[in-house]
């Protein structure tokens, strides 16, 4: 977006290329050589010679000081102009801008009638400390929040409903990783949230401590079966756990929109805005990140990837008139026989035909009393067995509403990643007791350092007191350390981040 600033750019070019307009323009100005003009010309020529000698543009500075009017700001101007002048040791620029400066000098004082706005050179005003003020930044953020709140009120969902989130979980290595992600997503949702956590193996302190700081309204129930070790069994148990949560929704007569947030999935914020549009029963498109979990087989699958590089999606499929026509499901054929069976396998974990997380519905569908429930919903208590997906709750799948511009928007991503069988991670992600390893400083030769290590331990003692107890042991445990090195490279780096000054 160039301003009309640019007309100036061809003033200089004009003197070189456009001959015809040149004489026309100058003819009106300097055709008459008055003594004043000659005087200025001579004076300016003199100043140019002086500048040549001095090495910077001296003439402008002098004339600026002599002729500047009250509107220019003195305290910044000397800094700016001398700084710029000192930089411009370019003699060519002095000579080439002669036509411009010739005009500006006599006109510096010429103001329009009664105007406080002066044409000519002004100082560039810089305040004494030109850096952001944290108080102003906070105020600006408050303003932005208020503006966004108003935008949500006007253009967002009118009368938003509570979102009832059902999450089955159990204590395992990656639980903290997954659950924290879901928790943070839910904390950002601008609507009311009720989080129903069903935990296999009963309520545990670990889960409770993870969700304690969320500030969300949570219902944490235990399910008294332990999570089995195979994916099939796990999926079945999770379905049972979700049904348990739905029974809670029915008992407590919670009002809102039920959605299923599995703890390893990733949700976008637009998902929560979009599901507010559901009337009774809706489905969204879920991106399947199945191949991510498996890196070893990527070489085999590279060919497949080139042919079919798009991410597989599970969700509603619409016809031309935006009516539900069918379902996109995950193609499991390429993975036949190669998928993970046990939870800590290294193979790809496959999703089932239709994942629970792709469905949302109004909680009133679960309530006992008749009300205005449509007749195509089955009663949960009347289910004979377990259902594989929420479609088992409806008698006629064509009533499902496709959300997210008819399934074209992928609003959440399905992923199942669990720790491998041979992984070693500290429980609750706390290193307790603290490590008894000290990392020698870079300057000492590594790894067979002579016993000068205790000298380096002195700064260590300042950091962590428990380590002090163990420093005397380092010499004796060094042999042990070397043999354990392969496994403990990870823990070494963790220790090194503590002893940051040694690194």
């Amino acid at each position: 977006m160039k301003l009309s600033a640019l007309p100036q750019s061809y003033l200089n070019r004009r003197s070189n290329s456009f001959r015809s307009p040149g004489p026309l323009d100058s003819s009106s100005d300097s055709a008459v050589k008055s003594p004043a003009t000659i005087f200025w010309l001579i004076l300016h020529g003199l100043c140019c010679l002086i500048s040549l000698v001095l090495g910077f543009r001296f003439s402008r500075l002098v004339f600026f000081f002599l002729f500047s009017t009250s509107s220019t700001n003195f305290y910044t101007a000397p800094f700016r102009s001398t700084a710029e002048l000192a930089k411009t040791l370019d003699v060519h620029s002095v000579l080439s801008t002669k036509p411009v400066s010739n005009l500006e000098l006599p006109l510096l004082n010429k103001t329009a009638t009664n105007s406080r706005v002066v044409v000519g050179r002004h100082g560039i005003r810089i305040r004494p400390w030109p850096h952001p003020n944290p108080i102003e930044v906070m105020k600006a953020h408050k303003i932005i929040e208020r503006v966004q709140k108003e935008q949500r009120l006007q253009f967002g969902v009118k009368d938003p409903s509570t979102i009832i989130v059902v999450t089955p979980t159990y204590v395992r290595t990656f639980q903290a990783l997954h659950l924290t992600g879901v928790m943070h997503s839910l904390m950002l949702v601008p609507y009311d949230v009720v989080w129903i956590l069903v935990e296999a193996g009963g309520i545990s302190n670990e889960t409770a401590s993870l969700i304690a700081k969320s500030g969300l309204k949570t219902i944490h129930v235990g399910f008294n079966q332990r999570m089995p070790n195979s994916w099939d069994e796990r999926n079945k148990l999770e379905s049972k756990m979700r049904l348990r949560a739905l029974r809670i929704v029915r008992e407590k007569k919670l009002d809102g929109i039920v959605m299923f947030a599995d703890d390893s999935n990733m949700h976008s914020m637009e998902l929560f805005d979009e599901i507010q549009n559901v009337k009774w029963f809706g489905a969204v498109s879920v991106g399947i990140l199945a191949t991510l979990a498996n890196t070893d087989e990527s070489a085999d699958q590279k060919k497949d990837k080139e042919e079919n590089p798009r991410m597989p999606i599970q969700g509603p499929a619409c016809n031309v008139s935006n009516m539900l026509a069918g379902w996109h499901t995950f193609n499991t054929l390429p993975f036949a026989g190669k998928s993970a069976v046990y939870i800590d396998d290294r193979a790809t974990v496959l999703p089932r035909k239709l994942e629970w997380s792709g469905f949302v519905f109004n909680s009133r569908l679960l309530w006992k009393d008749g009300g205005d429930k449509p007749e195509w919903i089955k009663d949960i208590d009347m289910l004979h067995g377990d259902i594989e997906s929420p479609l088992g709750l409806v008698k006629d799948p064509s009533v499902v509403e496709p959300l997210g511009s008819c399934g074209r928007q992928v609003l959440l991503w399905w992923l199942r990643v669990e720790a491998r069988a041979d992984s070693k991670f500290p429980p609750r992600w706390i290193i307790d007791p603290p490590l008894d390893i000290t990392v020698p400083s870079k300057r000492t030769p590594w790894p067979d350092a002579p016993p000068e290590l205790p000298a380096n331990d002195k700064p260590v003692m300042g950091i962590q007191e428990p380590i002090v107890k163990h420093t005397t042991k380092t010499r004796t445990s060094r042999s042990k350390r070397r043999s354990k090195r392969k496994h403990e490279t990870r823990t070494d780096t963790q220790a090194s981040t503590r002893h940051s000054e040694q690194n």
């Binding site: 977006m1 301003l3 009309s4 600033a5 640019l6 007309p7 100036q8 750019s9 061809y10 003033l11 200089n12 307009p21 323009d25 009106s28 100005d29 402008r60 700001n73 700016r80 102009s81 710029e84 002048l85 411009t88 411009v100 500006e104 006109l107 010429k110 329009a112 009638t113 009664n114 105007s115 406080r116 706005v117 002066v118 044409v119 000519g120 050179r121 002004h122 560039i124 005003r125 810089i126 305040r127 030109p130 850096h131 952001p132 003020n133 102003e136 930044v137 105020k139 600006a140 408050k142 303003i143 932005i144 208020r146 503006v147 966004q148 108003e150 935008q151 009120l153 006007q154 253009f155």
Partner: protein, 417 residues
């Protein structure tokens, strides 16, 4: 009788209750607000039927041939003169009978002599204008009747009818003497400036409406940028030291706020310029070589509150649009405190400004759509002309009386075109 009295009181109560509910409903969360300037609620006025305009038939060397030589004139920010001509040719306010006309329009495209870079050279414009006026004064009697007082001209160049891009030269030249009695419709506006005549109508610069329409994003996209600006801070080609360009104001913005996270300012030319404006709360509209810029139009269309840094500027349609209530005006000397100024505006005021900007009649008034739509800038110009009617008796000169001198003005302008 007692019963009737109680019935009457009951009816009064009911009426008051109903009125209260209506008032409550009206005040409850409106997303736009009506715009009324000092001239009143005039943005939605319909000029058709209130004035008659006669369009002079000039030979095509004044308009069509110039356009044929360079089609770029249709897209640059000075294109209003061309589109105004086209609008008037097919508008209901046009009359073919000059005796009944209130206003006379001369279609001469003075801003269409472009450099290879696309910038208009104004050196021939005074001669072109003069030649056009000579033509109309010799072929029709209406110019001599009033010496141009009921004629209007579109001069959208940097400094209007001063016909120069450099401010000092423009001030030196002054407004073309022959146009001293005519009404000028121009983009330039600065109080107490030689190039702004009393009674001129200020219009917004041309911004392509279709291009802006195609870059609209959903309104619920949250505005997360506090202050947004893209453009030059230093004009290195013409003013390398700074201090001359924009009277040092743009350089001051850069030096004070270049490391401030709230200010998204840079000289880049992103392809998402329009989309970014829609995600910003404030958009800076500082002066450049001239005080006006298309940024104001863009800010209004995209709902971003314009922060105008140009002393004494006169904004488009200033008598119809209450700019003080819509934008934020910052003096050039206060630029170092811009962050304090902007963060100390109360949120209610900001929300009100956004509501005013959301008013569709506000956005329409800044645009020159093709074909013309009610309430757009063409109609606002006609409204402005209609507000100047009826003409004072003094505009009509007695036969033989002359006010303007044909040979007034610079010698170079007297050459025939």
């Amino acid at each position: 009788m007692e019963i009737w009295r109680w019935v009457f009181i009951g009816i009064l109560f009911l009426a008051a209750f109903v009125v209260k509910i209506e008032a409550f409903k009206q005040g409850h969360r409106q997303s736009t607000e009506r715009i009324s300037g000092s001239a009143g609620d005039v943005l939605e006025d319909d000029p058709i039927g209130r004035l008659k305009v006669f369009v002079y038939e000039l030979p095509s060397k004044y308009n069509k041939k110039i356009l044929q030589k360079d089609e770029r004139c249709l897209n640059h920010m000075f294109a209003a003169e061309i589109y105004m001509h086209r609008f008037l040719l097919s508008s209901p306010v046009r009359t073919l009978n000059p005796e009944e006309a209130d206003w006379f329009y001369t279609p001469v495209y003075t801003t269409c002599d472009l450099t290879p870079n696309g910038l208009p050279l104004p050196f021939k414009s005074p001669r072109m204008m003069r030649s056009a006026i000579q033509l109309i004064s010799s072929n029709w009697p209406y110019w001599n009747r009033t010496e141009g007082a009921d004629h209007f001209f579109l001069v959208p160049h940097d400094f209007g009818a001063c016909f120069h891009y450099q401010e000092e030269k423009a001030i030196e030249r002054g407004i073309l003497p022959l146009l001293q009695r005519a009404t000028l419709v121009q983009t330039f506006g600065q109080r107490n400036h030689v190039c702004l005549k009393e009674g001129s109508i200020t219009i917004p610069p041309y911004a392509p409406p279709q291009k802006m329409q195609t870059h609209l994003i959903p309104e619920k996209t949250p505005r997360s940028i506090f202050v947004y600006f893209r453009g030059l801070f230093y004009d290195v080609g013409n003013d390398p030291e700074g201090g001359y360009y924009a009277r040092g104001a743009r350089a001051a913005v850069w030096e004070n706020f270049k490391d401030n996270p709230l200010f998204d300012i840079s000289t880049e030319h992103p392809t998402t310029y329009y989309e970014d404006m829609q995600r910003a709360v404030f958009c800076l509209c500082p002066l450049g070589w001239a005080p006006w810029s298309p940024r104001l139009v863009e800010a209004v269309i995209f709902g971003c509150i314009p922060v105008i840094i140009a002393d004494d500027i006169v904004l488009p349609f200033a008598d119809a649009i209450p700019w003080e209530e819509i934008g934020v005006f910052v003096d050039e000397k206060d630029v170092p405190n811009l962050d304090t100024i902007l963060t100390s505006i109360p949120p209610e005021v900001i929300l009100r400004k956004q509501r005013l900007l959301a008013n569709p009649s506000m956005k329409q008034a800044m645009l020159f759509p093709q074909p013309a739509q009610p309430g757009d800038a063409f109609h606002q110009v006609l409204n402005g002309l209609a507000r100047k009617l009826p003409h004072d008796k003094s505009v009509y000169l007695k036969p033989g009386e002359k006010v303007l001198h044909w040979t007034a003005g610079l010698v170079g302008d007297l050459k025939p075109w």
